[in-house]
Every structure is written in C-alpha cells, then in structure tokens.
Assembly symmetry: C2
Homo-oligomer: 426 residues x 2
C-alpha cells in the first residue's frame, strides 16, 4: 500500500487524552498496511498562550523571534504524539519542519513553501517508522532561520509533504464530518458533500467556508493531491477534494449537481466613498491608497454617476480587522480626491453559491436572485466568477439568504445532520 | 573589547518580569562595549511541566522524543528574551543548539558535546547583534537528531560556546552572590570566595556544592575558560573560577589559604554488605554487580576481617535514588557470595574540606578529625584525594560537622552574609 499523510489540528491534540486517541487512529492506519506521515498543529491554545507571553515582553515582537517562539508549540505536540504512538508499540519519529525538509522563503509569519526535500521522512518510512512532522513551520532557504507559514499553515504543510512524498491521499482531520452544502448550524438539512473539485473548494474557502484554508487547496490543485477531509471523532468517510474529472462517482447520476454548496462569510465590512468626481484616476487613487496600506479588498462596485452631478460612489468590502486602517488611509485622501464622505458598515455579510455546473447552465443568477427577492432580502453588492456568484447582504439576513439559496437549488437532504460546524485550528 | 558569554538559569527567566530584567543586564553589557552571547535555560518550571505531559501519554517515553519535547522549553525562553532585548533597542537573534553549532554524540538525555562550530553566532556578533543560544541542547553528529545534555547542561553549553568563541569570560548567573566557603544557611559566617581553582571547584561540585555542575567545570578546566559565578540580582563581583596559578590576587597575602571551602552532600545513602568471606574476588563480584546495574558508587570501605571468622564487611555510598536498584542487585548475589546480610542507611551525610594548599601542608587530616571529635561527631567512612578529605557522618550531624570544620580552618568572616544558598536550575 502507499503513503498516507494525516493532519490533525490543535483541537484534535488539545490534551493527553486527545493525543492518545489520535495515536490509536494513526496506529490503526499503519496496521492497515500504509506508510503513515502525521502532521500536527500545536496543542489546543498553546499558540495563543505563546503570543500572550511575547506581548508581555514586547509590544511588537520581531517576526523572526516570534516564529522561533511559536514553533515551540508544534515541537511539543509532535514529540508527545510520537511518545503516545510508541506506547502503543509502534515506532514513531518526530521531525521539525526544517528536519522534514520544508524549505520556505524568508517572510517570517507568512512564509511560502519553495521546496520540500523529505529525505529523512522517506528514511523513517523505509525503516518502518511512523513519521510525525511539525505543521506550520519551515526553514528559510537563504537565512536558514526558522519560519512559520501563517494561517492554515499546518494544512499546507500536510499537502506539500503529501505531494513531495507521492502520497495516495492527504487526510485532513477536523471536528466535523467533512464539507457540507452549507453550514449545518444555519441550514439543518445541509448535506455532506461526498466529492468536490479543487476549483469549487477554492471558491468555498475563499468565500467563508472555514474547514480548509485557501493555500492548502491551491497547493493540492497544483500538485493534483487528493484531500480527504474527515472527522477525528468517527470513522465515517468524509469529503474528497479532487480533480473536477474525478468528482463524479460511479453509481451517481452522470450529471454533476449544478450547485455544490452555499458559503457565507461574516468577517467582512463595507466602505463606501460617497461623492467621488467621476474622472479617470480617482478610483485608481483610492484603490492604490488601500494597496499601500496592505489591505486586500474583496468586492468593488462603482455606481453609475448621476448625470447632473458627475459624482459617483465607490463601495468595496474588506476584512473587518482592516477597517480602521482603511478608513485612516482614505481620510488622508480627502483633499486630493475631493470626495464627499466615507461610510463604514460592518453589519454586512457575504453569501455565495458555488458550482462547476453553472458554467454550462444559464439562468442560475436569475434563480439565485429570485430566491433572495422572494425572501425579502436586499442585495447590496454582487460579484461573480465562472463557478461562483456572491452577494453582499445585511448581516442580519445572512442566515435567511443561505437557507433561501440552499432550498432553491435543492441541496438539502430530508434528514437533519447532527454536527457542529467549526474551525480546524490553524 | 572581547566576547562575554552569559548564562541565565530557569529561575532568572521564570516569567516576563524576570526576562525583562535579564534583558536590561544583557543590553548593559553590550553597551559597555562587549560582544554578548547569552545562554538560557527553560523558563521556571517549564521542563518539569513537559516531563509531566510526557508521562501522561507514555510511562517510558522514548529518549529521542523526550529530547525533542524538552528542547521546546529553551526555544520559548530564548525567543522571548530576544524579543525583550529587541524592545530595548538592541538587535538580538536566538539560535537553537543545532543552529549554534553544538554538535554532540547520540546519547539522548545525556549527550556529550563533541564539537562546537559557532559560525552563525560569529556572524551575528560581527553584524552587531546579541546572540541568544538555547542551553542544554545540541544536535547529534551522526543522526542529526536533537539531543539534550542532561543535568547541568546549560552551564556546559555556556562554557563550551565561550571556549569555541575565544570569549574573555563565561559568566554564570545564579540567585546567590557566588561560591561560599560553606553553605551560608548552615554557617552564618561563611565567606564568599573571590577566586578558586578549577581543581578545587571540581571537588566542591563533586561533593555537594550545587552552584556549578561538574561537567561545566571540567570543560572550563580543559579549555582554560575563566568562569565568573555571580548573582543576577546584583552587580557585585562574584566568584572567579580560574587556573590555580591565577587564584592569587594582587594585594592578597602571597600564600593561598590551605582550605578553600567546606562542602556537604545529603543526597547519598550507605549500604553495608555484612559478613562477606574475606577471599579474592568476592569484593570484585559485589562491585561488578553494582556496575552492571549502572550505579555509580562513591566511597568504598572494606573493613579488616575479624581473624576468627575470616569474614569482612564492605560499605559503600551511592546516590539515594539508586538505593532500591542496588539492594535488588545485591540480593541476587546472596547465594553466590554467601554474605550474611545487607544494611541500608539513608540517614547519612558527607562533609568534605577542599583546598589546594593541603598538598604541601601536613597535619590537615588530624586537625579536621580533631575538630569533629571535639564536636562529638562520629566518622563512619573516610576518603581523600590530593586536595580533599571527605567523611561520612550521621545526617543529623552534618550541620555540626560543617561548622566545626569551617571554624577549625578559620574560613569565616566576622559578618553574617545575608544570602540564600540555592540551586541554579539546570
């Protein structure tokens, strides 16, 4: 049999009891005949505790040292997991990101993986051992300093290692059964998705589905590495994230569902710059000011100008965490651009329908908007991609909008899934 | 100015406040014009907490993984100290044992330093940065695995780095002002020793003085690296540990004191094998059985046999922690050796007088024993080296014996030192 890479998040290894449960699952996989590589996050709240400690000695800790500090978290969890596996009679060897050959650039706190040279992992597997690898961390190619990969880092480590090792699958363990057609806390009839394409999963992740991080899915797509998202609390088959041509399962209807799922995101806010002169260069100046402030904006809408005034409004969404920074950057532009005023709205939400099938199916937009209209939901902004339609609505109407879309596209089951939807740690 | 290596133990970096205080001392040394390398232990009880965690998942954690786990402790303290120094406006870079070039053998949990290749430290110093190095850890030359050096490891790291870097001095910071002529908790008039030779310090450390670990002093002697033991709570000059020819300070009487200090040790117990046939090979069989059980014995005394019976008693001292193992090993020998019985006594203590001056001074032993006799203290065992005389006495008489020796050799001051004698972490 081949190589299986398994990734366990912080909540799966939160304490000794959880670590022992993970150890049993790992050993069971090994006994089933696979070579097993395990990627772990730091235990429970370790990372937050370490950040607290850093803030106690320095208001703005140097990024290099913060990385050195935070990587202690995975060092602890991986060694403890290796011990727990050893106690079950299987040899396990733990490896830091550097030892596992996770080579990155030098951007501390958000390093990108440049190369993976897992020679020591291959040796460990060849010698019959289970390899435990610290997620979230690597070593800089140029400075040889310890780096961290930022949010979603451990998932990315797992996929990158799986690709470099030529693994059969990268299993991402979490506290839910897989990817759902919508958040089951909002839509009780939401259905687990058996298979989804990388492209659809990317849109889901980019638009609020929190189970997998964008970077990890991108890496998997580029390397054609199947991801199996499943629960660390059960043996159920979860959701496979695969190439679009592999999505259709034998025995299923030959036509793929038009819409795969409904995602939502409450982490954004909306800024409107009111009364911008409708002239070349003013919109660009506004977007440049935001870019200079390192703010990633999501959707942008420029209204048609009122003919009488030649003034227009520009609205955009951005992460709520960046709201203050953005307002400050824009306020500095007031004299230059001569806009009228700024409006800030953090009571918005984004609802997206995602499905590869909409490429070839006309009328999806109309059907989505009619469902929202029938539910008395007002659309503030719209953006689309080839396989996604997103709308911004009032935050108070997000749940209703998700349910309306879910029902309109007939995504639900008759049963109510008894799961809690949540994060995966980092 | 030259390079100064400073080592701070776990109690000196126990929390954010302590770390900030250490940072100020480090920066002050840098501002005085020195290149500064700092070696740190894990914060406070971190190491014990990690050991507890390991024991929760495995009764006998694999040594490789225990080392991986424990080294997380220094990773945390060094990164936090680097941040605190950065916050004072000086650049500090932290380095793991591996990054600092501490190359060891592969004996996990008690690795020996084979080589030190501190290229990255030298680069950091050349670039004007302060280098922070994780104590207690290194990397195996052959397996490239992370290793720990065992007890006293951080002190040894500091001395080894100081030697490899050609430092002017290795400063060991602790919670007392230096090395004293006796434990001031027992002898209120004990005096701080300004200078002591490596050889005397070795005897002090080997016979119960806990401030410096044997290995670190041995390493310093082999490499002629002066150690300055001093308090992290004051700016007082502490005790310099130097070559014997450098002990005599200018302006001091030309003759060195005959006795430098009195050490004591309550960590040993005594086993007596009663009624051993006084024949060739039986004593050897007993000692071999103990060696096979990995027990280091300290003093051994074989009584003259009673002529009538041709039976003898063999007594030896050993660490109390090994008492049970030793008794079990000896019990297995009963039929082979045919001894009468085993006596176990863990209410003993060892008192030693140490001084290079006793080499050329007759009558020291007599004076020591007379002082003990005058204090009604019975001597159970005796051992000597060229510069040390040790006696085993009842544990209840250790304090009286230390005071008797201290007074007899006129070691005290008129003042009472207001210090608390304690350990230095690891």
């Amino acid at each position: 049999m081949g190589i299986v890479v398994q990734k366990y998040g912080g909540s799966s290894v939160a304490d000794a009891t959880s670590v022992k449960r993970v150890a049993q699952r790992v050993v069971a996989t090994k006994k089933a005949g696979h070579d097993v590589v395990v990627v772990v996050s730091a235990m429970g709240d370790t990372t937050d505790d370490l950040i607290d400690l850093a803030n106690q000695v320095s208001p703005l800790p140097p990024a290099r040292e913060l990385d050195m500090l935070l990587t202690a978290g995975e060092r602890i969890s991986m060694a403890v997991l290796a011990m727990a596996i050893g106690n079950l009679g299987q040899e396990a060897r733990s490896f830091t990101g550097s030892q596992a050959g996770v080579i990155t650039d030098s951007e501390h706190g958000r390093a990108k993986i440049i190369d993976v040279t897992p020679g020591r992992i291959e040796t460990a597997l060849a010698e019959g051992a289970i390899a435990i690898v610290a997620g979230f961390q690597g070593v800089s190619q140029t400075t040889k300093d310890i780096t961290t990969l930022g949010r979603g880092g451990s998932d990315t480590t797992a996929v990158a290692l799986a690709a470099a090792l030529g693994a059969d699958v990268c299993e991402i363990y979490t506290d839910v059964d897989g990817i759902f057609t919508a958040d089951p806390r909002i839509v009780p009839t939401a259905r687990q998705i058996p298979r989804i394409s990388y492209e659809e999963m990317l849109e889901m992740a980019a638009n609020g589905a929190k189970i997998l991080h964008l970077r990890c899915v991108e890496y998997a797509r580029r390397n054609d590495m199947p991801i199996h998202v499943r629960s660390s609390f059960s043996d159920k088959i979860g959701t496979w994230v695969v190439r679009s041509e592999d999505v259709i399962l034998e025995g299923q209807p030959m036509e793929q569902a038009i819409i795969s799922g409904v995602a939502h995101d409450r982490s954004e806010s909306k800024i409107t710059v009111v009364g911008v002169p409708d002239q070349v260069g003013f919109a660009a100046a506004i977007l440049q000011a935001l870019a200079d402030a390192q703010i990633n904006i999501d959707m942008v809408v420029q209204n048609v100008s009122a003919a009488a005034t030649s003034l227009t409004d520009i609205s955009f969404t951005l992460p709520r965490a960046d709201g203050q920074t953005a307002m400050t950057a824009l306020a500095r532009l007031k004299d230059e651009v001569g806009y009228e005023k700024l409006l800030y709205d953090d009571s918005v939400g984004k609802v997206s329908i995602i499905g590869a099938g909409m490429r070839s199916e006309p009328g999806i937009t109309a059907k989505f908007f009619r469902a929202l209209a029938d539910a008395d939901i007002n659309i503030a902004m719209i953006s689309t991609s080839e396989i996604r339609i997103s709308v911004v609505v009032a935050e108070s109407q997000v749940d209703a909008a998700v349910n309306a879309a879910h029902t309109a596209f007939d995504l639900g089951t008759d049963e109510v899934e008894a799961v809690v939807y949540g994060g995966t740690g980092r």
